[in-house]
Subunit: 337 residues, 2 copies
Amino acid sequence: VSTTTTINRRIVLASRPDGIPEPGHFRRDDQPLPQLQAGQLLVRNLYLSIDPAQRGWVNAGNNYSNPVAIGDVMRSLAVGVVEQSRNDNYRVGVHVYGWLGWQDYCVANADSIWLTVDPQNGPLTTALGVLGINGLTAFLALNEIGCPKPGETVVVSTAAGAVGSIVGQIARRDGCHVVGLTGSNAKAQRCVSDYGYQLALNYHDEQLSQRVKDACPRGVDVFFDNTSGSIADAVWPHLNSHARIVQCGTAAIANWLPPPVALRRDRDLLVKRLRHAGFVIFDHAAKFPETIATLGTWLREGTLKYRDDIEVGLDRAPHALAAIYRGENEGKKIIML
Amino acid sequence: VSTTTTINRRIVLASRPDGIPEPGHFRRDDQPLPQLQAGQLLVRNLYLSIDPAQRGWVNAGNNYSNPVAIGDVMRSLAVGVVEQSRNDNYRVGVHVYGWLGWQDYCVANADSIWLTVDPQNGPLTTALGVLGINGLTAFLALNEIGCPKPGETVVVSTAAGAVGSIVGQIARRDGCHVVGLTGSNAKAQRCVSDYGYQLALNYHDEQLSQRVKDACPRGVDVFFDNTSGSIADAVWPHLNSHARIVQCGTAAIANWLPPPVALRRDRDLLVKRLRHAGFVIFDHAAKFPETIATLGTWLREGTLKYRDDIEVGLDRAPHALAAIYRGENEGKKIIML
């Protein structure tokens, strides 16, 4: 391509959502590609990663990074192929994974690239999910904060999701009793058949706390929480002394400005010596290569299962993002360009 | 003494309090001393330790140990002298610190003894506070959970108390900016003059959150929380990313059945990658001797300050306990027998 004449299709943030981003918060803003500067790459995007965390990247406050500016390309992880390079570390033709955005092409600086993709690990889409942000998050959050030991009980909320489906398999591999919480009976079945869970519960059950208690006869040692809210509140009473709670997401609460109220947990935390810690994957970049190597080995062995949910076309990205907050995806949501 | 004829004065739990124990919840129940069994010691109590944690030891639920039974001697740490011994590890005349109870004499099993007291460290009362549960808690909770680094900001609630007064000195020794929250202007002054704090605030200030913000211009990296409640809520908004919160007490909330409501913290915890953990000293017995050695060195050097608040007479113990929840003590509360 010639960077001076190619028009780059881009989806930009049109207005700032309170809470869930809907398609109306975005618009197309196609622009010619700029020239590459020294050190930069031109990457043609192939697959865009649709992630619950993207809500936080466009909300005004209470997050770990500056929000996407109005008029800027929507922040997104993606896999693409290097078409031009002015950086000796990336030759033309290699596939890369990183901050490439909702657009056809990204003029990327090297610090936007997370990893070079090894095509031997599997289809390119695996680099977005099971070998991307979701697999990395599952593995590192579970091991760095959860620290599961054989025989312990691990409970996971959004157990059939792109992260939870991997957490279940890793915890089962570690010799734990693994219980999943998910949004439908069909997903609960898949948790048990495919994702390592001994038991899975539909979190819409009105007796959820009692169901969790019944499913965890020895109590809960690790709670991998992607939801917060009433789903989490159903689990906390059953935590054992010295339990670890991984706060990896807060999907059950649409808006944190202002935060909702809940029962104060300080006394439980003290008397049970709980450890409750937040996890953000971007802190752990130094461990990405070794973690991908481990997960890639399991994937090639066939002992790590995943499911991709692929839609086609750049313009579907805003709809796909809104849909994942309604729980409509079946596995890792991906946009194929 | 002859164990068969000596009458042991004892204060037992008469009824179970909801929340704060008041003098009416206790009664005297003097009994003859039983004979020593093999392995046991007869300890004559010299000083009783009055501790905020004793509330939890008599409340019905939500605690880390079984509550004291109605009619049993009130659970208490104390220092005493061994008067008879059927245990080769403890000879007559040594001083010991441990679970000796609100009574003149304790027929103690070896597992009730925390430590043998080294009289060279200072007055015997130091074994209860600065070299006892309070010093151990301050040192181990700060270092095991708080992990302060030089230049970081440490905020302590109940900063002039038996634990907080030591936390301030250790954090200052570690090169931290140390800010105390305490219940009166006089105590705030003492925090600064004696206990290592650069700044101390009266937590009754109606603008407490703004005062904390002003006192911590670089934000809060470690929050050593002995209160929970609105005092803690004034600190949480000012926590930095990767801050650690030590939940060492919950003194600001009188009754946890049911727990009060508060703003849900899960989102803050996630986006700031906070680590919030409960601390109970009894988990850390293996580190008591080395910790006492360290604190004892500082004490003998004269670089570790403490204040004892001593009342005389067994029958004062229930009043003294109730008074510490009203913040009436000036330093470590002790009953001299």
